[in-house]
Structure formats: C-alpha cells, structure tokens
C-alpha cells in the first residue's frame, strides 16, 4: 500500500460519513453495553428505518464516551448533543429531536467541566470512531504514523522522537520509554519481540480495557512502530481473558489490518514484517509483572524471576523483548505523526503528555478521563469528577491500586505527575483513581488491598507469601476490635520486611496502602485499637454490642 491509497481510504470514509446529515453515536464499550446500549443501538436503527431516514441519518457504535456513570451514552453529531441514561423507549424521541433542540430529560451538557477540563491524546478517537472499522481509524489519520516511521524515518529517528517527547511508561513505574526502546534496539539478536501488557488487574481500573475496546488499531499501530524501532518482527498482546469484548475487538482489528496490509508482510512496500498474536491471561494479577508475563506467554506457571537480566536482554524464550503497557503504545502513533516536540508541550517538566485515569469510588462522575500530567488532584476530583457523592466530605484518593497509596485531603492541590505522587508515598500506577469519603474506613481500605495482594501473591518468595498473610491477620483483628497496642509497631515492621526483601514488584509494593494509611490516618488506627471505635462506622465490633 502507498500513502495515496491509505489517504484515499480515509477520504472515501470521511465523505461517506459527511453524507449523513445526522450521525448518532452509541457507546458500545463494556460499561454502556452492560446497561443495554446494544439494545438502544438496535432500537435507534429500527426507528431510523421505520421513519425511512437511512439516507441522511446514520447510527454507529463507538468506543467509550467517558461518563460511564451516566450510561448508556448517545452522542448526536455534528450537533454536539450528548444524551445520558438512554433507554430503548427513548429512540423515537431522540429521532424526533434531530436537527432541533435536544430532548431535555436526557440532555447531558457537553460543556460541563467533566468534558471541558480534559485533554485527549490517547482517547482522541474514543467515542468518535467505530472500533471495528479500520477505515474509520484511517479517516482520523490512522496508520500515517506507521507510514512515516517506515518510509520516511529511521529506527533511531523514531526512538529519538519518542525520547524527545519524554514519553514514560504508563504501566506504573514511569520508566522512560525511549530509554527502554534504545536498550532493546541495541541488543544484538536476529529475533526480538514486542509485548503489549494488557493484563490490567488493579481493582477499579479499566483504562487499558477501554482503549482496547474503543480504539484497538491505535495500539496495533504503536506496536508496529515499536517493532520497527527496536528491530522486532513479532508482537504479542497479553490480555486477560476477563476482557472478552476487548479480546474480540483486538482480534477483529488484527484481521482487518492484515487484510489491508498494514500488518503482516512487507508493510507499506518495505522489507518490514510485523505480526501480532493475542495471548490470553488466566487472571493472575502477578502476570502483569513483566517476567511473570513472559513465563505465562511461554506457557509456564506465571511467577516472576529475579531481575537482572531484564527482558530487554533476556525475554521471551531468551530473546530480547520490549514490554510496554497499552496506554504507552497508544501514545506512540500521535507522537510519530506530530513529532516529539508537540507531545512534550503538554505536561510537566519531567512527566510529559497526558494520563488516562479510571475515576471510581465515591465521586459523582465515575468514568474514563484523560488529563494533562500536572493537573491538580482537586481539579480531577471536584471539577472533572463533579465532587463527592451526596455532598459528603472528601477523605482520600487511592492511586495505583494495590501498589499505590492513599492521598489525604492535605495534598488535594498536588500536581498529578510521577514525582509528586512518589513524594507523598503513592505511585501513578496504571491510572486507577478511587475516591473515598468520610464513610470509608481507612483501616478497612488497607485490609482490602492487602487481602488482594495476599490472594494474588504467586507464592514463590517467602516475605510476600507469608508476610502478606501476617499483615492481613493483624489488620483483620484491628477491624474486628481485637487490635492490641503493639499492632501498629508490628504492622510497620512487617511492611518494612515485605517491602525490602520481596522478589518482585508485587511484594515490594504490596505494603504501600498500609504504610500510607498508617502515615496519614494513624488516628483511625488508634481509634480502632484504643477506643474500639470505627470513626467511619464501617467496622462492626461484636463485643461493643454485647456491652450495650
């Protein structure tokens, strides 16, 4: 394929879409599908044909529109009208209102801060394109980045742009992507691999799932560019089997891309070949750790091994392997298309670009958001998130899932970037953001996360396998009102042990929720232990009932 052919496909698709006077976009990502958006789409299609409007009204399934709490979401283009909580019976009203003012009972203002405060790079196509149509993706400039990389740039030039853009790994640790790519490209080997880590396992996180469900081609293009840059011809997407829709859409996308020739052999008439295979994970959290992920793809038990040697040297089947997160790859095509300098213009000094967050918990607008690095936590929770449910008082935000920490109210004005988050004892993580209010008991929160790590520990190294059980038991007895005054010291000691002696990242970060709640919410622990009272009222102590 040549660039002219690629642009022609995009042009035809664009003209086809512009031919419709009204375009109805129905969200068909997992969140809205679970509240019957599939039936809504069907009803709208039926209604359109009943009214004989097929020639000037189109109904299209699109990716995540963001405001998952108000699903099913429907958008009317080009009017820019957004409907929330649409049901099957609303179809005729929506069609009736086309061209005129919006149906007021369903209207969801597109001007609310939830939409205006966001900046979309990774999610630029989410809610716009049909995730199962490659033409739609090409119409939005898709695969141009890959063309530029293969036909105009050199592998070193590609890495240079990534480094210049200052892109950092979006999986959690924030390792500079350019540096990782350089490491793999410098290793000498005839066979190399590119792996996309889509084993998103944090409780409450759904960024990677949404990207794969809404815009799968973006990830494929990013992987192909990475393959060209590091000299790899094979790619694997390791995605958890609990994401059946994402798996289906990625598989469809791979098939379509191969048919068009933007994946496979001699891409864009060059000598570059790149194949992508989907591998399903069986739902072990530890398989998100890169060495465990490698073991799992190879067909072995998913347990990590000590590093070094790092996968960039010794990865899949012993070959150099580049492992990046879904969101990292999704950032690559726009960087190549628009240049590293363009990307570096967004964000803070050390954290460039934007970050996708899955906003969850006790906040009004739960959903998928994307904000520039450096956005204040307060803006995310109160402007984009629309504040706390039922006007209750904000207490804390948990970032980074079970590896992260709780950020209390005093840091609401901190900037969301890798360094600032590390400074307050949390991590960026993959982007899960769980908001907690005064009715959340922080000891209970710590117990929840350590229980998660306890059951997800692979059992290989002793500190993580046994230490997490010990920490959990102590927290359990505190929440049952059986805590002893020495338990605080015991918790600190166990956390220090597990953090410093565990083999992989799971164990090394597992104590973080406990440590950060001990740090910022010691009074709650004290209340549980000394006064046998749960300030948030979530823990129930049997013996207090008896004494009453």
């Amino acid at each position: 394929m040549t660039i002219e052919e690629l642009q022609e496909i995009g042009k035809i698709e664009k003209e086809k879409q512009d031919g419709f006077k009204h375009r109805i976009h129905v969200c068909v990502a997992a969140g809205c599908l679970s509240c019957q958006s599939g039936q809504v789409k069907e009803a709208l299609e039926k209604e359109v044909s009943r009214r004989g409007q097929e020639s000037w009204t189109s109904v299209k399934g699109v990716g995540c529109l963001g405001l998952c709490t108000a699903g099913p979401m429907v958008a009317i283009e080009p009017d820019g009208i957004l409907y929330q909580g649409v049901s099957v019976s609303d179809a005729s009203d929506i069609l009736e209102a086309l061209g005129g003012p919006a149906v007021s009972r369903l209207d969801c203002s597109a001007h609310m801060p939830f939409f205006t405060k966001q900046k979309k790079i990774v999610l630029e196509n989410c809610g716009k394109i049909d995730p199962e149509s490659i033409e739609d993706y090409i119409a939005e400039g898709g695969y141009e980045g890959l063309y530029n990389a293969l036909r105009i740039m050199t592998p070193t030039g590609v890495i240079e742009q990534i480094s210049k853009g200052g892109l950092r790994g979006r999986g959690g640790a924030g390792f500079p992507t350019g540096l990782k790519w350089t490491a793999v490209s410098k290793t000498k080997s005839n066979i190399k691999f590119v792996v996309c880590n889509a084993d998103e396992g944090d409780p409450g996180a759904f960024m990677d799932r949404s990207v794969l469900e809404s815009d799968p081609h973006r990830v494929l293009e990013g992987m192909a560019i990475a393959g060209f840059a590091v000299g790899a011809n094979y790619g694997f997407i390791y995605v958890r089997a609990e994401y059946p829709l994402a798996v289906k859409r990625v598989r469809t996308a791979i098939a379509r891309a191969e048919r068009l020739g933007v994946l496979g052999r001699n891409i864009f008439n060059t000598t570059f070949n790149f194949d992508i295979t989907v591998r399903l994970g069986a739902g072990a959290f530890v398989c998100g750790e890169e060495t465990a992920l490698i073991a799992s793809i190879e067909g072995r038990r998913g347990s990590p091994r000590p590093r070094p040697p790092f996968p960039s040297e010794l990865g899949l089947w012993g070959y150099p392997t580049l492992i990046n997160n879904v969101e990292t790859f999704a950032n690559v095509p726009p960087i190549i298309r628009k240049g590293g300098d363009w990307f570096a213009a967004t964000g803070t000094d050390k954290s460039k670009g934007t970050k996708v967050f899955a906003l969850a918990g006790r906040v009004n607008n739960t959903g998928l958001i994307e904000a520039p690095m450096g956005t204040k936590l307060r803006e995310i929770v109160f402007d984009i998130g629309g504040g706390i449910l039922e006007g209750r008082k904000f207490k804390a935000v948990q970032t980074g899932g079970p590896s992260g920490g709780c950020i209390p109210e005093q840091f609401l004005d901190m900037s969301m970037d890798y360094e600032s988050l590390a400074k307050v004892g949390s991590i960026m993580g993959s982007g899960g953001l769980i908001v907690m209010d005064e009715t959340s008991c922080m000891v209970d929160v710590a117990k929840f996360f350590i229980e998660f790590c306890m059951s997800e520990s692979c059992g290989k190294c002793v500190p993580c396998r046994v230490g997490t059980v010990q920490i959990y038991n102590v927290l359990k007895r505190i929440t049952e009102g059986k805590g002893k005054p020495t338990d605080i010291g015991l918790l600190e000691e166990l956390c220090d042990l597990v953090k410093n002696t565990s083999l992989c990242g799971l164990g090394q970060t597992a104590p973080n929720p406990v440590l950060s709640t001990l740090n910022y919410f010691m009074d709650e622990y004290r209340a549980h232990i000394d006064d046998k009272v749960c300030p948030a009222g979530t823990c129930h102590f049997n013996h207090t009932e008896e004494s009453q």
Binding site: R305, P306, S455, P463, L503
Partner: protein, 254 residues
C-alpha cells in the same frame, strides 16, 4: 566472548581461553571471580558462609527464599546472592545488622507458615530449616502461628510427603525435572495456598510419571519428604549424588 573491537586481536588468540575475570570485595576482603559466577559461589569459595534454603548446589537457582540477601554498597536494594552476578569493584556486605535482622524475620515467617514441630519430626537434628535457626540465632517466633490444616500423603510404597513441613523451596520440583527428567513434582495454587503436587494433584502412589528414584526425598531440606519406616530424628538425607553429577556435567561443559 565478545570484546570491544580494540581488544579483539588479543581475544582472537587461539591458545588462550578468553574468560573474563573481575575483582570485587566481600566484607572488605578483595576477591576475584569469573564473570559468570554468582556472589554466593564466590563467597563460599572464600570461606564466607551466606545462609541459603532454596539454593542447592547442582540445581538451578530460584532466588526465592530471600535468606541469602546481601547489601551492595551504593544500592538501596538488597540482592539475593544466589542469582546476582558480581561487577568489577562492587562492594558487598553479607552480614550487616540490617540483613541479619531481615533473614531472622524471614525465617520466623517460614516457621509461622506451616506446622514445623521439630520434636516429632523425622528430620529432627538433620534439618536445613532447623540448622538455619542456629546459624541465624533465631530463639523464638514473635509473629502469630497460622496453624493451617495440611495433609500427609503416604500412598507411595517407599516415601511419604507431609505438607505440614514443606517450605515450598521447590528443590523436589527442580531435581525431578532437571536431574531425573520425570517432572512428577510441580506446584499448584497461589500465595500461601500454594502446594507441591505429584502429577496432576494425584496421590503420589498413583503417579504414572514417578520413577521412584527418591532424589526428591534426599534434596528436601526438611522432613516434608521422607522415607517410610523412619521414626523421629532418623531421616538423614544423602545428597552426594548432586555434587557428583555437577562435577560430571562440569567436565562435559569444558
């Protein structure tokens, strides 16, 4: 062996075996090592004893028990000596207060995990885990015992496995796979629910892959795997076959 180009002429000489040797220090003593030798190997060559549990000469390394962690000057992280390769001028401290404290606590965790009751154990007095408590000066356990319910499988005609004594070091798994080539043993379950199993979690006596060689019993550090007919403190392990095999394989490699 790849060398930078300016050294390639020397490296091309046919009469020398190019093996890179480097020097570093352990506890302030300068030692030398081949670049493919681990810190543990070099330390033991120099008479420095680092406690280990999952490591066994002749089996592959796992870096899992975390008892051999050492401090490397300039690095905040602790590194397992059994899998870490030395670098030139590295400074290693093997017995600082910090690592000794961690080792003791890890050992305590192991004792809380399952039911290690030495006084009624076949391996009492010949047990690696017991020996470690002496070496590390562990006098008592200050964490709560978990007291899990564990099974005993005595279905094999000559051996039995007592999961109460298992420390999940996987020596049995490795010796069966790497030395005997049968791969009868493996691990099922995650975290503290992990357990060594024979075949697909079938009784050992019904295993179709087990050759009955007993290597797993001999390498087991505790009384988890034992020969039948042995009473308390009677089970001594015979592991001489491993250094012998290692020597033979070493000959092959050269």
């Amino acid at each position: 062996m790849r060398y930078p180009s300016f050294l390639q002429r020397t490296a091309d000489r046919a009469d020398v075996q190019p093996v890179r040797v480097l020097t570093f220090s352990i506890n302030g003593v300068t030692v030398s090592a081949r670049e493919d030798e681990t810190i543990l190997t070099v330390a033991r060559q120099n008479g420095i004893s680092i406690p280990t549990l999952c490591h066994l000469d002749g089996l592959s390394e796992r870096g899992a028990c975390r008892l051999c962690i050492v401090e490397i000057k300039g690095s905040p992280k602790l590194s397992p000596a059994c899998v870490t390769l030395p670098r030139q001028d590295m400074e290693i401290i093997t017995h600082s207060d910090r690592v000794m404290d961690y080792r003791r606590k890890i050992l305590e965790l192991l004792f809380t995990e399952r039911n290690h009751v030495c006084s009624v154990c076949v391996s009492n007095g010949h047990c690696d885990l017991q020996a470690l408590t002496v070496e590390l000066g562990m006098t008592h356990v200050h964490y709560d015992y978990l007291h899990p319910q564990q099974m005993v499988d005595a279905s094999h005609e000559r051996f039995s496995v007592d999961h109460n004594r298992c420390v999940l070091c996987q020596r049995c798994v490795r010796v069966c796979d790497e030395i005997e080539g049968a791969h009868t043993w493996d691990v099922m379950g995650r975290g503290h629910l992990a357990k060594v199993i024979t075949d697909l979690n079938e009784p050992w006596g019904e295993s179709t892959t087990c050759t009955g060689c007993g290597k797993c019993v001999q390498v087991c550090p505790t009384g988890a795997l034992s020969e039948k007919g042995k009473s308390v403190a009677e089970m001594t392990k015979k592991r001489l076959f491993l250094p012998y095999l290692k020597l033979m394989r070493g000959e092959e490699e050269r």
